[in-house]
Amino acid sequence: MSRYRVLVTLKPALLDSAGRAVRDALHSMGFENVEDVRVGKLIEISMKDGNESQIEEMCKKLLANPVVENYHIEAAN
């Protein structure tokens, strides 16, 4: 079984409203030194005889929208 982790994040130039809300909530808790928060998605995939190029294809076609999101693939075995 191959296992992969895919991290999907909004491109830095885009407003991450969830990240802003979490940042402000952390400030209200007293963590005033927090400068920025970005909220993304972690997708874990287990597959039989998988390879990274398949994951790459999944990312491009479904898991991320390359127009607005970056993705990062990690082998998680």
């Binding site: 409203s17 969830a18 809300a21 979490v22 909530a25 209200s28 808790m29 909220v39």
Partner: protein, 227 residues
């Protein structure tokens, strides 16, 4: 009786709750913004439903940090009436005023329909008058109540399960729990019994003209739930 209806960014049942309390039940309801630090002068609190902060992280997670929630914690400890409905229930669990959590519905669908519930234990002020099966609307995506088994045993043992989902005949079985809640739980109480969290919306069942009035019997207890 002055009742605070809390408003946060993303509250969307605040006006329904205000209307139900003020125009139908005769409470002196007032909106209170989440940044307020005092609930002095109020005798009860309603935390209405909605999608506060877009449900970012988890439903209710960010609203639970609002300044006004510190006052809700004081109300909880002092035995004053507090009801959290839907997202308000999620806020109460995230603020650890009530135990457990509300997660994605078992059927993975947003549910918007009437649900039948009944009071399990009628010794609490919130449930004392609920002697029949109530039809109250639900409208949620994350309404499946879960908690560790020992927490649920404690809730049941202490008579703190306020409402369970049931069939129209009053039978409690897993099929009657629309969102798949553990032990059919629709609403729970804190230890003192003055804080009620529930997923169904009593403020939407306030007059026959709007489809039913079973919610009145619950909201009316704001007047009695001081313990």
């Amino acid at each position: 009786m002055r009742v605070a209806v809390l408003q946060s960014p993303g509250s969307n049942c605040d006006q329904d709750a205000y209307h139900a309390l003020r125009d139908h039940l005769g409470f002196d309801a007032e909106y209170v913004w989440h940044r307020e630090t005092s609930l002095e002068g109020y005798e009860g609190v309603v935390i209405p439903g909605g999608f506060t902060y877009g449900d970012y992280l988890r439903g209710g997670a960010i609203a639970a940090l609002s300044p006004v929630i510190e006052e809700v914690k004081r109300f909880a400890v002092e035995g004053r009436p507090v009801i959290g409905i839907c997202n308000g229930f999620q806020i109460l669990t995230e603020a650890e005023i009530l135990p457990g959590a509300l997660v994605r519905n078992a059927g993975r669908r947003f549910l918007c329909k009437d649900a039948n519930i009944k009071a399990v234990n009628r010794t609490s002020p919130w449930t004392a008058k609920c002697d029949c099966i109530l039809s109250i609307p639900i409208a949620h995506n994350e309404g499946r109540y879960i908690a560790e088994e020992e927490t649920i045993e404690r809730l049941e043992g202490e008579g703190r399960v306020a409402f369970v989902y049931c069939t129209p005949e009053g039978e409690v079985n897993p099929e009657a729990a629309p969102s798949g809640s553990s032990h059919n739980i629709a609403g729970i109480l804190n230890e003192r019994g003055n804080v009620l969290g529930m997923m169904p919306h009593p403020e939407r069942a306030i007059s026959k003209l709007l489809g039913g009035s079973d919610g009145r019997i619950i909201l009316e207890q704001l007047a009695t739930a001081k313990v």
